[in-house]
C-alpha cells in the first residue's frame, strides 16, 4: 500500500514536471512550517495562531508551542483558516459513462474510465476537495470497483491514491426489471459464486489428495466478489428507497460484508434500522425533501441530515451539480448546521468520516501528527459563503492557488466589451 502510493506520488511529480504549464505546482519542500491564524484540526479543538510542522509531506507536529526548525520553509497564513482538505466518499462524476448496461459486472473498475481532464476534478480542487472515491453509478446491480483519487494530476496514474477500493452494489432495479427480479438476480449470483468457490476448493483438495499439481486460477471476473466475501473489499450498497434498507442490512449480515450504505433521501424512513445496524452511511446530495403528510395533507420539510444525526448515525455528505450550492461540500455541511447540527460534527461529515469510510483516514481527514500534510487554506470560516479556497496543499505541495486560477477569473470578471455600431445610440 505504501509503495503503491509512493509510486503514484513519484509519477505525479514526473507528470507535473512534464506538463508544467497546466499543473503549476510548487516544489515539495523537505521541511515546512505553516503559521496559521486558525487551524481546524478536526482531530481536536481548533487552534488559534498555531503552527503545522511537516517533513517530507507528512505532519510532524501541530500546536501553538511548536518550535520551528531553522531549516524549515515558513508559510505565513496569519489571516487564513487552515483545515484538512474535504473528502468525497462517493461520486460517479469524472467518468465518461457511470453505468455499464449489463447488470453483473463486478470486475470492472472506474480506474479505466476516469477522465483526468474532466472539469469535475478541476472544480473539486478549486472547491477544496483533496480525495474522492469514484464509484460506478447507481444503475448497475454489481457495478464494479471504485478508485480513490486526488483531483490533481494529468493521468489517472498520477491522480491515484488507492485502486480497487469499494465495490458498488445498487439495489435500484435496472431498467425494465422489477425489484423482485433484481434481488433474485443478486441472490443467484451469490449462490453461484459460493458454489463455484466450494467446487474450486474441492478440486484443490482432490488434487492434493492425488498429489497432482493444482494450477487452476480463480476466475478473475469473480475476484472482486470473492474479495468482498473475504472482507478485503467494502461494499457500497446503494438503497434507492427505504424498503431497500432492510435488504442491504440483510445482505451485510448474511455474509458479514464490510458495508457502507449509500442512501437516497427516501431512506430516512428507515433511520431506526440504519441506526441499529451501526453501518457507516453516505447521504444523498439532496439534503432537504418535501413530503405530504398523509394525515394532515400538509407539506412537510424533511431535513435528512438532522434525522440521521438525531438517531446517532455517523454519515458522510456528498455533492452533485443539479442545484448550484450542492456542488460544494462545505455548503452541504452548512445546510446541516443551519438546521441544528453541531459544527464539529458537520465538519467531520466532509473530512474525517468520509476518509474513514473509504479507508484513507490513516493519511487524510484531520490535521494531526503522522498524517499527510494535505490541507486547504481558506480566506475565512468554512461555512461562510464569502469564504474562498486560497490554496490547496497535497502532501506538502501547493497544487492550487486562487491567484493563478485563470478559469475562476474568467468566471467572475467582466468580459471585454464588444463595441458594435448600434451600441453608439
Amino acid at each position: 500500500m505504501k509503495s503503491r502510493s509512493s509510486i503514484a506520488f513519484v509519477s505525479m511529480l514526473l507528470t507535473s514536471f512534464v506538463l508544467s504549464p497546466l499543473a503549476h505546482a510548487a516544489p515539495v519542500r523537505k521541511k515546512l512550517a505553516i503559521k496559521a491564524g486558525r487551524i481546524i484540526t478536526i482531530a481536536g479543538a481548533d487552534i488559534k495562531n498555531g503552527v503545522i510542522l511537516t517533513e517530507d509531506g507528512m505532519i510532524k507536529a501541530v500546536g501553538t508551542d511548536v518550535e520551528i526548525p531553522w531549516d524549515a520553509f515558513v508559510i505565513e497564513a496569519k489571516d487564513q483558516v487552515v483545515m484538512p482538505g474535504f473528502v468525497l466518499a462517493h461520486t460517479s462524476s469524472g467518468l465518461d459513462r457511470a453505468n455499464e448496461n449489463v447488470p453483473e459486472v463486478p470486475f470492472l473498475s472506474t480506474f479505466d474510465s476516469i477522465d483526468p481532464i474532466s472539469t469535475f476534478f478541476e472544480d473539486s480542487l478549486r472547491d477544496g476537495v483533496v480525495a474522492m472515491l469514484v464509484l460506478p453509478g447507481n444503475d448497475t446491480l454489481l457495478g464494479g470497483t471504485g478508485t480513490v483519487v486526488k483531483p490533481h494530476g494529468r493521468t489517472v496514474e498520477a491522480m491515484l491514491i488507492e485502486r480497487d477500493t469499494g465495490l458498488k452494489i445498487s439495489l435500484r432495479p435496472t431498467r425494465n426489471t422489477s425489484r423482485m427480479g433484481h434481488m433474485q438476480r443478486f441472490r443467484r449470483y451469490m449462490s453461484d459464486l459460493k458454489e463455484y468457490l466450494e467446487e474450486y476448493e474441492q478440486r484443490k483438495a482432490d488434487a492434493k489428495e492425488e498429489k497432482k499439481p493444482f494450477d487452476e486460477e480463480i476466475d478473475p471476473r469473480k475476484q472482486p466478489m470473492i474479495d468482498l466475501l473475504n472482507q478485503r473489499l467494502t461494499a457500497f450498497v446503494y438503497c434507492d428507497r427505504a424498503a431497500d434498507v432492510p435488504k442491504a442490512i440483510d445482505i451485510q449480515k448474511t455474509d458479514k460484508l464490510n458495508t457502507v450504505l449509500v442512501l437516497s433521501p427516501d431512506c430516512y424512513k428507515a433511520v431506526g434500522l440504519v441506526a441499529k445496524s451501526k453501518l457507516p452511511v453516505i447521504l444523498d446530495p439532496e439534503l432537504i425533501v418535501w413530503e405530504t403528510n398523509e394525515e394532515t395533507n400538509e407539506e412537510e420539510m424533511k431535513i435528512i441530515p438532522m434525522i440521521f444525526h438525531q438517531a446517532g448515525v455517523k454519515f458522510a455528505l456528498q455533492t452533485d451539480t443539479s442545484q448550484y450550492g450542492r456542488r460544494y461540500l462545505w455548503y452541504q455541511a452548512a445546510t446541516a448546521v443551519k438546521h441544528g447540527m453541531k459544527r464539529t460534527e458537520a465538519l467531520k461529515s466532509i473530512t474525517l468520516y468520509p476518509a474513514q469510510f473509504i479507508g484513507v483516514d490513516d493519511r487524510l481527514g484531520s490535521i494531526e501528527a503522522g498524517k499527510e500534510a494535505t490541507v486547504i487554506f481558506l480566506t475565512g470560516d468554512p461555512f461562510d459563503a464569502q469564504t474562498w479556497v486560497d490554496q490547496v496543499m497535497i502532501a506538502g505541495q501547493i497544487v492550487y492557488e486562487r491567484e493563478k486560477d485563470e478559469r475562476l477569473k474568467k468566471l467572475l470578471e467582466e468580459p471585454e466589451a464588444i463595441p458594435t455600431p448600434e451600441d453608439t445610440d
Partner: protein, 404 residues
Amino acid sequence: MKGCAILLTFLLLVPVSAARGQADVTAIKAGKILTISGDPIADGVILIKNGKIADIGTEIEIPEDASVMDAGQNVVMPGLVDARAVPPVRGDLNEQSSEMTPALRISSALDPQSKALKRLVQTGVTTLLISPGPRNVIGGLGVVVKPTGKIPQEMVVKDDAALTIVMDLDSAYGNLVPWYRSPNNFYYRRPTTRMAIIWMLRKSFFDARQYATSKQEQDAALGILSSALEDEIPIHVNVRRAINIRTILKIADQYGLQLILDECTEGYKVADKLARKNVPVVLGPFYYYPRSSGQMREGRKVNWNNAGLLASAGVKVALASGERPESIDLLTAATFAVRHGMQRDEALKAVTITPAEILRVADKVGSLEKGKDADILILSGDPLNVTTRIEKVILNGKTVYTAD
C-alpha cells in the same frame, strides 16, 4: 434554544390574544430590523394592524391590547419577492394549440392547494409572479400572487401583471418534425428557427399597432398586445443569449416597448446597453454545468458574477428562483450572488424591493415601511449566511410558517 424560547413565548401569547378576541394588533420586537428601504433598525418594533404595517421604528408605543412577538436577537426582514417562480397551477403550462396565445391567463389555472406554494412559503417567498410556460412565442398573461389563500381570488395581488414572450429557441425547440413523419397533423407547430421567432414577434406587434389605430372589430389577443404596446401590461421577455438580447432591444426600439428581461444568462455582455436603455432584468438561477439539452445549450457562456456585473453597470437586477422546482431558494441565490461579487445591499434588494418595483407592486410589498403589507421574515441571523435559518414567515400579518 433560542428557537425554543421564541416558540414558547408564542405558544403562551397566542391563546391570550385569541381570548381577547381582537388579535388584529401585533407588535414584533427584534434586535435587528432590515427595512431594505432605509437603514437597519437596531432594537426596533414593527406594529401590525389589519395585516398592514401600522408603524415601524425604535420609539413606538405598543398598545396594551397588542399581542407582542419578541424575536429576541433574531433578524427581521421583509418577505421575499420572487419575480419568476414555480407556477402553482394544475396541469401543463404550455398551450400547444398555437404559438401565439397572448390572451391566455395563467391565473385561470391557479391552484391554491398547490404544494409548490407551501414550499415557497417555507423558503421565505411572500409574493411571486407566475407566468405561462416557455413553449410559446407569446405565452400569455402572468399574475402576481401571494402564496396563501383558500381561493385563487384571495391570492391575487395583481392580475395581468406580465405578458410573457420567449425569445430563445425554447419556443421552437421540438417543433421540428422528423423527416419520416408527415407534417400535416395537429401537433405540427411553428416556428422552428430563430428567424421565425423574431418574425412572429415583429408581425404581432405590427398587427397590434394597426389594431390600436384602426380599432376595427374586437380581438382579445390584439387587444392585449396593444395594451402591452401602451405599457399598460409589462412585457417579460425570456431571453438568455446576448445576440437575442440585442435583437429584442432593437424590436423594443422599433415599437416603443418597455421591456423586462428574464433569465438573461448572458446579460453581463450587454450590461452597459441594458443600463442605458433602462431595462430591468430578472435573473434566473444559474447552472454552472450546461445541461445536455438543446435548450440549455443556449446561454452557455455563464459568468458567475452576472448579477454583480449587471448591477454595477447600473441595471436594475432582481434574482428569481425560476420555474424549476429544484432550483435554489432566493436567499441562497442572493448569498451566492454576493460570493461572486454583487454588493450586499444590492443582493438584498434584488430579492425584495427591486422585484417588487419590476412587478409594479412596490406600493404594497418589498420593504418594511408604514402602510405596506405585513409580509415579514424572522431569521436566526444574517440573511446572507448559509447557516441562517428562516424561523418564521408572516404573511399579511399572520404567521404562515414556523420552523420547528
